[in-house]
Structures are given as C-alpha cells and as structure tokens.
C-alpha cells in the first residue's frame, strides 16, 4: 500500500452568508481542498480550539487553548460579519501561540484600501475582493506549501506546561464594517 506523499490541505471558511459559504466551498473543493465552513467567527474560534474562559474574572481576558486534533492549514474569512468581524478573528488567531502560523485570508465585498492595509498589517496573507474567483483560490496553494515546509523545519517547542494559557489585551473597540 503506497503512502500518500502529502495529505490534503484543510481549509476553514468563515462567512455569515449561506450563498457565499456555498460558493467558497465549491471553489475550494475544485482545488482539492478539504473544507469546513462555519457561519461566524465565534464558531471558527471554537472549531480551532481557542475558547474564551468566561469564568475567570481577570482584568484582561484569558484564553485557554485546548489541544485540538483538528488540523487546519488555512483560514479564509469574510471581513464584515455580525458580532466578531473577520478582522477580530484575524487578530485573535495571530495573538495565539498555537494558531498564529496558520495563514489567514480575508474576503470582502468592499474595496477599502485602509481596510485592506489594516488586515495585511495584522498578518493576513491575502485580501480577496468578493465575489471570489477561481484565480484567487489558485493563489492559496503557495501559502499552504510555505506553511507546511515551515512546520517541517521548525523544532518542537519545549513546553513544560500541560495547558497553554495566554493573556492578551482586551479589544474593546468594535470596528464598524463600513470604516
């Protein structure tokens, strides 16, 4: 029995619009990605194993990271979503020790340069204008190959703690999607 040289890439797609979820899923599947879709950033964080601990009463929020067997190679998210925006999600991912190396791509129906720059500065790999095209999705593989090579080259971290805890500064400012 021959061993597969590489496993399929797993993409997590986040969008509150059902139509757009259908579209992005089809686009990703035609590129042979494994796809999971969720309709909110909160659900995305849950899926990624980054859950906010509501019972702590620290001044700043504490996120406990649960070891997840879920292996996500790329996250593609809509920018403008009710509740937590795609930008908020991007920030939380980049602030997380275990998730920050996962490439994140932002999608938006609005071509706002300041928005695009803000996302790229925060660490998004790409910014796609909606409606997303096959040509856009074709740009994803290089980012995934890069991450995979990086993972293979990195030494495992020496972590004595069983449970990883992170403290990050509370983000009280809600960004309006129209800004």
């Amino acid at each position: 029995m021959a061993m597969a040289l590489e496993t399929q890439f797993h993409v997590l797609a986040v969008d509150d619009s059902l139509i757009d979820r259908m579209l992005i899923e089809r686009l990703l599947k035609t590129s042979s990605f494994n796809v999971t879709t969720v309709d909110s950033a909160t659900k995305a964080l849950k899926f990624l194993g980054l859950v906010e601990d509501e019972f702590r009463s620290f001044e700043s929020s504490v996120a406990s990271e649960i070891h997840q067997d879920v292996d996500v190679n790329l996250i593609i998210t809509d920018y403008c979503m009710p509740g937590m925006t795609g930008y908020d999600l991007l920030r939380k991912i980049k602030e997380s020790k275990s998730l920050k190396n996962i490439p994140v791509v932002i999608m938006s129906s609005e071509n706002v340069p300041s928005r695009i720059n803000r996302c790229l500065e925060e660490g998004a790999e790409e910014f796609f204008l909606k409606p997303v095209q096959q040509a856009d999705v074709n740009k994803l593989k290089p980012h995934l190959m890069k991450s995979r090579t990086k993972e293979e080259n990195e030494q495992p971290l020496n972590n004595k703690r069983k449970e990883m805890e992170e403290i990050y500064s509370p983000n009280k400012t809600r960004l309006r999607c129209s800004s």
Binding site: S17, I19, D20, L23, R26, L27, T30, P131, S178
Partner: protein, 146 residues
C-alpha cells in the same frame, strides 16, 4: 435530434441576451463553471437560495421602512446583505440598485430609500423571472437528452 439542437440554440441566445441587457454578469458564468457531474445542481441550488434570501430581505426592508422611526443602520445592514448575495450570483442590475440604496441609507434619505426599494423590488422580480426561464430551458434540454 433537431429539437434538442434548437433548444440548445435558444438557451445560448437567451443567456446571451440576459448578459447583453445587463441582468447577469460574468459572475453567473463562474457559477456555471463550478457545476459539473459531481455537482449537477449547483446553479439551481445557489439561485434558489438567492431567491429565498432576496425575498426575505425585501420583506425586511419594507418592514423597516414602514416604521414610524426608521432604523437606517438596520436598513443598511439588510441592503448590504442583498448587495452581497446579488453580486455573488451575478445579478448585476439588482446589485447596482443596492449600491444606490446604500448611499440613500448613509444619507438617511427616506424618499431615496423608498425609491430604491421600489427599484430593487422591480429589478429582482425581473431577474427572478428570467433566471426561472433560463433554468427551465436547461431542464428541458436535460429531459430531451442533452
């Protein structure tokens, strides 16, 4: 055999006219390209979703505009959704009206919004009927062995 060829030609001509008149844009082509043997109903599914979504949103828009005190943020949020879904399926004229509609919301222009609602309702009913015709023609072709 002749009947099938004729149906196919009619479909090509009809689709071309929809593009020519601006009802549909390139995005609709993208949708069709995403349909294949393993996903033979993709276009029908997405278009049906669009109909459901649009009708729900048009109802909401009408309700919101009918309030004594209009919530423009809510209005804008609904228009934004409709703008998004119409763009995603290539319903160009609906998408265009939504852009104007958002401007009216931003300006808190009640008359503008009422006019835009009328326009978007009209454009939606047009594109709905045309898409239904198009999908019906495709069904006929399939039934005739195409």
């Amino acid at each position: 055999m002749d009947g099938l060829v004729q149906l196919q030609k009619q479909l090509v001509d009809y689709t071309a006219s929809l593009f020519h008149e601006g009802f549909l844009d390139e995005q609709f082509n993208q949708l069709q390209q995403l349909q294949d043997e393993s996903n033979p109903d993709f276009v029908v599914e997405v278009v049906t979703l669009f109909f459901e979504d649009a009708e729900r949103l048009l109802n909401e828009l009408s309700k919101t505009l009918g309030q004594p005190s209009i919530d423009f943020k809510k209005l804008d949020a609904h228009v934004h959704q409709l703008k998004g879904s119409s763009s995603s399926i290539g319903a160009q004229r609906v998408h265009r009206v939504c852009i104007s509609f958002r401007n009216s919301c931003e300006e808190q222009n009640v008359e503008g919004c009422l006019k835009n609602l009328q326009q978007v309702t009209h454009e939606y009913s047009l594109v709905k009927s045309k898409l239904e015709t198009l999908l019906r023609m495709e069904q006929q072709i399939l039934a005739a062995g195409g």
